[in-house]
C-alpha cells in the first residue's frame, strides 16, 4: 500500500513538474490522433451521407461491412498494416513501418468505420425536410450536403469525439506499426505498456491519469453536445 502511494505521488510529481519525456509522449499521442481524426472525418462523413441518401445497389451490404469492422481488434488492424508496410510487403518501398505516419494510417483504419457507422446513424435520423428544403431553395449538391451535416452537427461532433477517444486509447496498432520508439513513436498507451512491463509504474500511472482526465473531459463534452443536439431537435 505504501509503495502504491509513493508511486502515485511520483506520478503526480512527474505530471505537475512538466517532466519533458512524459509530456513529449502525451504531445505525440495527441499529434498522431488529431491528424488521424482530421484526415478521417471529411471522407467518413461523405460516405455516411452517401449511404443515407444514395441510391445505388449494395448499400445494405456496405453498411453491414462497416458495422462489422467496428469490432475488429486493434492488433488485427496493426497486423494487417504491418504486413502491408513491412519490407517484403506491397508498400514496403515506402519505408513507413515504425513511423508516426504508419500510426496515423492505422488509426485512420480504426476510426473510419466508427465515424461512418455513427455518422450514418446521425444523418439517417436527421429530418428528411432539411435535404428537400435545401434542394428546393436551389442549393447545389455540395451545399445541400453541408446544410444537412450542419443541421446534425452536434450528433456528428459526438461521433468524432467518440472516434477520437477510441484512437487515442488504442495500443495494438501503435505498438505494432509504431514500434514504441522513444521520442519518435512512443505514445501514451505504448509507454504505459512498456513502463509496466519494466516494473516502472510511476510514468505509467502518470500517463494513465492523463488518459483518464481525457476520458472525463471527452465524456463531459459529449454529454454537453448530446444535450445541445436534443435542444436543437
Amino acid at each position: 500500500m505504501e509503495g502504491m502511494l509513493f508511486t502515485t505521488q511520483k506520478a503526480l510529481h512527474l505530471l505537475v513538474t512538466g517532466d519533458p519525456e512524459l509530456w513529449s509522449i502525451v504531445m505525440l499521442s495527441f499529434s498522431v490522433s488529431l491528424k488521424a481524426i482530421i484526415l478521417t472525418t471529411p471522407p467518413a462523413m461523405l460516405v455516411a451521407y452517401s449511404l443515407v441518401n444514395g441510391n445505388f445497389p449494395g448499400i445494405r451490404i456496405i453498411l453491414a461491412v462497416f458495422n462489422s469492422l467496428l469490432s475488429v481488434p486493434t492488433v488485427v488492424i496493426g497486423l494487417f498494416l504491418y504486413v502491408m508496410l513491412t519490407r517484403q510487403g506491397p508498400f514496403g518501398d515506402l519505408r513507413l513501418l515504425f513511423s508516426q505516419t504508419a500510426m496515423v494510417i492505422g488509426q485512420i483504419l480504426l476510426c473510419f468505420p466508427i465515424l461512418v457507422a455513427l455518422g450514418y446513424a446521425t444523418i439517417n435520423a436527421a429530418d428528411r425536410r432539411v435535404r428537400e428544403t435545401a434542394i428546393t431553395l436551389g442549393a447545389p449538391w455540395w451545399f445541400t450536403i453541408l446544410t444537412v451535416l450542419y443541421e446534425v452537427r452536434f450528433g456528428l461532433l459526438a461521433a468524432v469525439l467518440t472516434g477520437f477517444g477510441r484512437i487515442i486509447s488504442e495500443v495494438g496498432i501503435s505498438m505494432m506499426v509504431g514500434g514504441n520508439i522513444l521520442g519518435y513513436t512512443r505514445n501514451i498507451t505504448t509507454a504505459i505498456a512498456l513502463e509496466t512491463s519494466k516494473g516502472e509504474f510511476a510514468q505509467g500511472i502518470a500517463l494513465g491519469i492523463v488518459l483518464l482526465v481525457l476520458a472525463f473531459v471527452l465524456t463531459t463534452f459529449l454529454t454537453y453536445v448530446q444535450g445541445k443536439q436534443e435542444m436543437s431537435t
Binding site: 429530418d127 425536410r129 428537400e132 428544403t133 428546393t136 431553395l137 436551389g138 451545399f143 443541421e151
Partner: protein, 216 residues
C-alpha cells in the same frame, strides 16, 4: 385563361406495386392558384414532390416553351423555378434573416444586394421585428410566414404548398392567406393541397380532387 407555364402530363407513380398516381395531367398557369384536395394518402404530397423534382415519378412528361420533354431530362432545368413548402416548414438553424437569405446565396447577388433583398422581403412579410430571432423558437404561424418569405424572395414561377394552413390559428391563417394572395397577384402560380376545401376562400381559381391516384 392564359398560356400555361408548365404542363405535366401522364404522371405515374408506383410504389411497392401500388399505383399512387395514375396518368395525372396538370397545367400550371401564371397568377392562378390550384387547390388539390383529397383524403390522407391520396397522393397529394407525392404529386407536389414530383412537380418540384424532389421525388422521381415512374413516368411523366413536362411541356414548356411549346415542347414536350421527359421529366428526367427537364426537371433539372426547371427546378429553380419551382419551390415546394412542407406542411410543417423546416427552418434551418440560425436567425430568421439567415433563413430568408439561404436561397439567395446561390444567385448572382452581391452582399449588399443580398442584404437589401432580405430587408425588403422581411418588411414585405411583416417579419422585420423578428429578423434577428432564432427561427426555430418562433410560433408555428410565424415559422410558416418565414418559409413563405424564404420562397418569395427567390421569385419562383411556381410555389407548391403542402397543407399550408394545417395546425394554424385563425389569425395566422389570415396572415398566411394574405401573403399568398400577394404572391398570386405578382404572377406566381400556386398549388395548394388540402383535405379541407373551405379554408382558403378567395384564393383558389381551380379545384382538383385526387382520389385513387386520379385527378378529377
Amino acid at each position: 385563361m392564359s398560356e400555361p407555364l408548365l404542363v405535366f402530363r401522364g404522371i405515374e407513380k408506383t410504389f411497392a406495386e401500388t399505383n399512387i398516381l395514375r396518368n395525372v395531367d396538370i397545367s400550371l398557369y401564371p397568377g392562378k392558384c390550384i387547390l388539390l384536395s383529397g383524403n390522407n394518402g391520396s397522393g397529394k404530397t407525392t404529386l407536389l414532390k414530383i412537380i418540384a423534382g424532389l421525388e422521381t415519378p415512374s413516368r411523366a412528361e413536362i411541356e414548356f416553351s411549346g415542347k414536350s420533354h421527359s421529366w428526367k431530362s427537364a426537371i433539372r432545368s426547371i427546378r429553380r423555378e419551382i419551390i415546394y413548402l412542407h406542411q410543417q416548414p423546416y427552418l434551418l438553424s440560425g436567425t430568421v434573416e439567415s433563413n430568408v437569405s439561404y436561397g439567395l446565396r446561390f444567385t448572382h447577388l452581391n452582399r449588399k444586394q443580398l442584404r437589401e433583398s432580405v430587408k425588403e422581403a422581411l418588411e414585405w412579410a411583416g417579419l422585420a421585428d423578428v429578423a434577428k430571432q432564432q427561427a426555430k423558437t418562433l410560433s408555428g404561424g410565424v415559422q410558416q410566414r418565414v418559409a413563405f418569405t424564404r420562397a418569395w424572395i427567390l421569385k419562383p414561377k411556381v410555389l407548391l404548398l403542402d397543407e399550408p394552413m394545417a395546425n394554424m390559428d385563425i389569425e395566422s391563417r389570415e396572415q398566411a392567406c394574405d401573403l399568398l394572395k400577394r404572391m398570386k397577384s405578382e404572377g406566381m402560380s400556386i398549388v395548394i393541397t388540402s383535405h379541407d376545401t373551405n379554408i382558403i376562400d378567395g384564393l383558389i381559381d381551380i379545384h382538383f380532387s385526387l382520389s385513387d391516384g386520379k385527378l378529377d
